[in-house]
Symmetry: none
Subunit: 213 residues, 4 copies
DNA sequence: GATGAATGAGCATTCATTCAT
DNA sequence: CATGAATGAATGCTCATTCAT
């Protein structure tokens, strides 16, 4: 089965593994993503990967060390690409409201632009967290979380928010979008989150904004 | 390792498998839950279950048919208990606002009362959906979804909501609570959702309520 | 390939694994011994063992845990049988000379009665010593060594020996017989050690006995 | 890990592979010896060798053709060096007794001067014998054996020996020393055989010398 | 109903060897 | 001569499931 060409996906992988020498590496990641999404991570066997990626077993291990390593490589590539997208959108926000909207929009844009990667991230997170790369994952999460909370903690911005615990903030902003995106990725709902991005942003804003009264 | 006594958990299982004859069945489910949460579903082997539940292999198969069957039994027990809790809270709601609040509170109460079951449900959902019980799962989801949407579709209630697609409603109401509960269950945040139940309900209400203006 | 019947071998294994229930265990050990001697330990694969012993892979692992465990079980069975034989012969010795002779004779008798086990022990010793059972092996060796040295250290007996270090004693008594037995087992010499047992005993005696002068 | 400098070892290898061009060859042999003794022959992988010898895979294959070839090259280098040492000592013997003593001394001297090579020879012999160089090994052994037996068969010398089969002779002379050296190399005894070389020679002499009576 | 020995297909991984550069 | 990426057959082992007792 030939791996479908997907320019956006390719761009993400080239960001993580640039150059002509890494072409095989990217082909493997591409094929692996398809397998993992089609059958699940555990059920995907090395043999299936080898077939789908048109690579030898030795090659797989030469480049990624283990199946777990392959999953982690794919996961972190996706995570990085998502982070880049979010940072871009976020950095252009000039007001509190724009910051909230940027976060929601970036999230929705990412999931709809890279549904394959997003679906994979949902299912891979738990296994990466338990595996040998769990520490790295927690570290990255902590850093990103702190940076975002710090942005909102800036006095002028904080004044625009309800006086609710910082712990809650990210859940309030992203929770609804995430829930709908999960439902969409699993087929429970049909309409693309992209169509609802403004409503999701508005809803998030209403949740966190201090009432004018 | 003896299975810890947990009255609330026991109650859930007695609800699904009542009577003295089903005592072994309940003990197995209890031990299995612990194993699945500790190691994950796939990594848990029949041998580990047998050890933890102090049951024989034959016993496990006699009562649940297969590992998949055991997972499904546990999953649907949990799902049922959650549904009962939600229905109770929901049925006492007399206004739109109370309905929204009841949904969020019931969700938070369920997760904090049964963190083990909740954690299990998050990880088991995907595998149950792919397995032979997937149809049943989808059927149940559809029914519950319809019932809830119908409740909100009642004209007087609908008038109090923003004019947003019905598809979006449940995500807007439950998304934030779910996101925070996931974070709590995975240890990313420390404070119990129980402490934030009113804020989560208020936030949800602000998201979906039609602005007074 | 049917496993050859060998009453003496069977007796050794029944000594270690008695009863009808252990019949399969004994059959596996018998077949494994043949494989290990024919091809060497490392080159023998689980598949070869399974074929030769007419057992399933699962069976092999059910009974011995690992290939290494199978090697160790065989090794310690052989070691025990050898120890029993030596102790018997040794316990009947009433003089220093008879003790020396008993040791050499027991050694030669063991090797010629159980050439298969003896050949196996020579090749397995190193791998058992490096594996997880190495500690047990060293412990046993130490105990046997001490017991023998203690016997010879008894004053009246010691008076009959040259005044050489105790460390050297066992090498002087058993070294020549061992060397010839190795040569015989590997085919370098043709005549059975059994034919030379009295000469080997006499040579050992001359090496360690205090000259009359 | 840098390969320790060991002049005696270097000398042995320069004897087999002289000149500056063979320097890499010697470095590989040196590193391989360390690996083989540390982990065993089978468990040592090409990758470990490459790392330890600081050579490329291609290099290893260029110089020795295969792992088996590397083992054989090391084995025969050691064997040759041992033979040279024995011949030297032996050629200076002017009496039967001196011949016996020379053999034992040469053996002990060799093992204590080259414990690494000696340890390697013990473990490599079986695998070389089974491999494609087995014929060569047997040929060499036969020649050496014949030469030694011939020396002792000379009438005047034979008259000084017990009337025992020639087959037995080498075992009687070398067996005790070999047994003790094995014990020393494996750590079972602590005192260097070098300290006992005269006793071992004397013991061997007593075993084979015709009693004066 | 209960038991646990037996099964064997299937898996992740290793590693000696090759060969294009 | 030197390199090391690529190969893929082969290996030890796991584990859900069956079934005779």
């Amino acid at each position: 089965m030939p791996v479908a060409l997907n320019p956006a996906l390719n761009a993400v992988l080239e960001q993580a593994y640039p150059g002509a020498r890494a072409q095989l590496k990217r082909r493997i990641l591409l094929g692996a993503l398809a397998c993992f999404n089609e059958h699940g991570i555990e059920p995907t066997t090395i043999d299936m990967l080898k077939e789908r990626c048109d690579a030898s077993v030795g090659n797989l291990y030469h480049h990624f060390g283990s199946k777990e390593g392959l999953v982690a490589a794919l996961f972190f590539s996706a995570m990085d690409a998502h982070a880049v997208l979010t940072d871009e959108a976020f950095s252009q926000a000039t007001s509190l409201r724009e910051g909230v909207v940027a976060l929601v929009h970036a999230y929705v844009d990412w999931v709809t632009a890279q549904p394959e990667l997003a679906r994979f991230m949902f299912q891979a997170r738990a296994s990466v967290a338990k595996g040998p790369h769990g520490q790295e994952l927690r570290q990255r999460n902590r850093l990103r979380g702190k940076a975002l909370v710090a942005w909102f903690a800036e006095p002028e911005r904080q004044a625009g928010l309800r006086e609710w615990p910082a712990e809650l903030l990210m859940s309030l902003i992203i929770g609804q979008a995430e829930n709908y995106c999960r439902a969409w990725l699993s087929g429970r709902v049909k309409t693309s989150p992209q169509q609802y991005r403004d409503m999701l942003a508005e809803a998030a804003w209403c949740s966190v904004a201090r009432p004018v009264a």
